[in-house]
């Protein structure tokens, strides 16, 4: 009996000691050297369900790190971007944030990719007074404004006015709204319900669908029974593509407006011929070639696409664009004020007329999402290709 206890104790002790040894090994205090690398963190959903968002963001972050270090770093300092995966999980995002803030002592953080993971760690950044530039799109992230939190993604607040302006130009006043039953669809619906009635629109039908549903004809049949003059759909692939095809099958002739959430090649691929004629707001990335030569964003879009294609042999999307803007904003601030978290924050807040992938950024003390309605173009799919619509 005593022997077995002793053995168990030994095992426990061994386990405990190794545990602590492993814990301690990683965190010996390091001497700060004059030419030490500037450390930036990134929390992205590289694996898990949101990997189509996190993966291009990670690739972009690594591309930019390589570029800046090849060019000699920032003010002679190399830049090290420590990328952590949160797998789209909020608990993992909290742990990743704690690691970056407490163990790696990063100067600023890019990401997270998703609204949920961002909202879960906002508090940690406020407490530790470290600037965060989120790549997620929820309006809640920067409304109300929080001191250390910035956002680069285009939100519904800017896309919906564009849609309403387009509908108005077509003389449409009664709309049916069909949304994905996830955070994205919910946020679109809330924003539409806030804005549309003020501008004289009437939402005559509200329907929802599950992201994985393969048939939306019941919802669309109900919409068909109303006097809606257009359908506005708010979702991310694959649901909106199903709606596009179902509308064709039901021979619904009223226009279909999609959200910026499906402004990607995958949507056209999934919808096939039915996609032709669909209108949506989109960032300028997908229509770079059609932009006027004097468009300020054109050179930067071309440069990013060329570099991304050269390194990864595929076309970048707007998710990568979010990461690009977030990293560049931090680089720019770092270059100007050096490795001081508070000064970096102030510098990001002072950013004006910063030309990025998502648009032209203007931050201020009361606006931590630097974009505006002008960051969107209304595009229409013609023969399976994006075409800019002139509505302004």
């Amino acid at each position: 009996m005593f022997k077995s206890m002793r053995v168990l104790f030994t095992v426990m002790l061994l386990v405990g000691v190794t545990f602590c040894a492993v814990l301690l090994s990683g965190c010996a205090p390091k001497q700060k050297k004059a030419d030490e690398a500037y450390k930036i963190g990134a929390i992205l959903s590289i694996t898990g369900r949101a990997s189509p968002i996190g993966q291009p963001e990670k690739e972009t972050v690594e591309l930019l790190q390589e570029q800046i270090n090849k060019a000699g770093g920032i003010n002679g300092h190399k830049v090290e971007i420590i990328v952590e995966d949160d797998a789209g999980d909020e608990t993992k995002a909290v742990m990743a944030a704690k690691k970056l803030l407490n163990k790696d002592n990063v100067l600023a953080v890019v990401g997270p990719s998703l609204s949920g993971t961002t909202l879960a760690i906002v508090k940690l950044f406020e407490e530790s007074q470290t600037p965060m530039v989120s790549c997620a799109a929820s309006v809640k992230i920067t409304d109300p404004v929080q001191k250390w939190i910035f956002q680069v993604a285009l939100t519904d607040r800017y896309s919906i006015p564009n849609i309403l302006r387009y509908l108005e130009s077509k003389g449409i006043k009664k709309i049916a709204f069909i949304s994905d039953s996830n955070a994205y669809g919910q946020s679109g619906l809330a924003e539409m319900e806030n804005t549309a009635p003020q501008k004289g629109f009437e939402i005559v039908a509200k329907e929802t669908f599950g992201g994985e549903d393969t048939d939306m004809t019941p919802q669309l049949t109900r919409i068909k029974g109303t006097d809606a003059q257009a359908v506005v759909c708010w979702g991310t692939n694959p649901g909106p593509a199903v709606i596009t095809r179902n509308m064709k099958q039901l021979k619904m002739t009223i226009p279909l407006i999609q959200s910026q959430g499906v402004a990607n090649a995958k949507y056209i691929e999934l919808s096939g011929d039915a996609a032709n004629g669909v209108v949506m707001p989109a960032g300028r990335m997908i229509v770079t070639a059609q932009l006027a030569e004097n468009d300020p964003q054109k050179p930067i879009l071309l440069e990013y696409q060329k570099a991304f294609e050269a390194k990864y042999k595929k076309t970048p999307d707007h998710y990568g664009g979010h990461a690009y803007d977030a990293v560049k904003l931090i680089f720019k601030a770092l270059e100007k004020v050096g490795p001081d978290k508070a000064l970096i924050r102030d510098e990001i807040e002072k950013t004006t007329n910063f030309v990025g992938i998502d648009g032209i950024f203007n931050y201020s003390a009361t606006n931590h999402n630097g974009l505006s309605e002008d960051s969107f173009e209304m595009v229409q799919i013609v023969d399976g290709k994006w075409t800019i619509l002139k509505t302004k």
Partner: protein, 322 residues
């Protein structure tokens, strides 16, 4: 029987000592927050261990109870300004009540049927969190949940949370160890072996099953409430099927033969992904490899492996002395 209980107490005391000194051996706050999540998961895992490993009733819906705890706390504290701790009590009571109502019919089922029923239960709760937008905030969740406080003083530091949550985890462990070794524990093991035989021996089979189900649901809700207070934000993603499966993985990888299996399982499965961050892109591969290796080479879990190791050393010891 008495001797094993004594040795359990010995280990518990050693473990408590280890838990109380670890923060001073850690140079970094990040590891403390990892251990805070270990404590939260341990409370759920120990409760699930009692249900699955001792009473032999599977549950694929424990994330639902964990979610009920978290959501009750979140809703009460943000929308109704309920004082902290009171919300935790209500969360635990509510989860226990739901478990009692749900458990009474479902626990009459056996084997796969029970697994599917609890699976359904978990999924239904996840759908409620997602769709009952007015109350749960829908998919975008609830922000601004207040942190815990003691005697009116807010707990600011991770260190305080560490000691608070670990006290509860150790208390849960103590209760579980006692329960297993008590009359109730023996009754549970009897009905695990054969329900018919247990009933023939005069054990109230369905009564015990419901009670243990309620207890483990209440523990899950307690942990869920702590989670909500610590992270201060919740959304439905953390309370889905994948978390239920993670919990089951914890108790199986840790070892189903004892409550200590749940302890080891929650420590290993919560902290391992964090240690593997150093491997960058390969962390998921290594994580999966370790899990597969444990299941193949240690079919009785880590605790079972330790027991075999101990027996071997013990045999060698007696052989040498002979």
């Amino acid at each position: 029987m008495k001797k094993t209980l004594k040795s359990d107490y010995g280990i518990l005391i050693a473990f408590t000592a280890l838990v109380s000194v670890v923060p001073f051996m850690l140079a970094n706050k990040y590891y403390i927050s990892v251990l805070i999540f270990v404590a939260i998961n341990m409370i759920v895992a120990v409760g699930l261990n009692l249900l699955v490993c001792h009473a032999g009733q599977i549950s694929l819906g424990h994330a639902g109870f964990y979610g009920i705890g978290a959501y009750t706390t979140a809703v009460l504290t943000t929308a109704h300004h309920c004082p902290v701790w009171v919300d935790t009590l209500i969360a635990v009571a509510l989860a226990a009540l739901i478990a009692w109502i749900m458990g009474t019919p479902t626990l009459k089922l056996k084997g796969h049927y029970l697994a599917v029923a609890t699976l359904g239960l978990g999924i239904i709760m996840h759908i409620v969190f997602n769709e009952w937008e007015k109350v749960t905030g829908g998919p975008s969740g609830i922000v601004g949940i207040p942190g815990l406080s003691i005697f009116g003083r807010g707990i600011g530091s991770d260190l305080a949370y560490y000691y608070l949550f670990w006290s509860f985890a150790l208390l849960t462990l103590l209760v579980a160890l006692n329960l297993v070794k008590s009359r109730v524990g023996r009754a549970m093991r009897a009905l695990h072996g054969s329900e018919v035989a247990a009933a023939a021996m005069g054990i109230n089979v369905s009564g015990y099953k419901v009670k243990i189900f309620v207890l483990s649901a209440a523990l899950a809700a307690l942990a869920g409430s702590f989670y909500a207070h610590y992270v201060t934000f919740i959304s439905p993603t953390g309370f889905g099927l994948s978390f239920s499966i993670l919990l089951l993985t914890m108790i199986i990888v840790g070892g189903a033969e004892s409550v200590w299996g749940a302890v080891i399982g929650s420590v290993v499965l919560t902290s391992l992904p964090e240690f593997l961050r150093g491997f960058k892109d390969y962390d998921v591969v290594i994580y999966g490899f370790i899990l597969v290796a444990v299941v193949i080479f240690l079919p009785a879990g880590i605790i079972g492996g330790l027991r075999i190791l101990k027996e071997r050393i013990g045999r060698r010891g007696t052989a040498e002395s002979a």
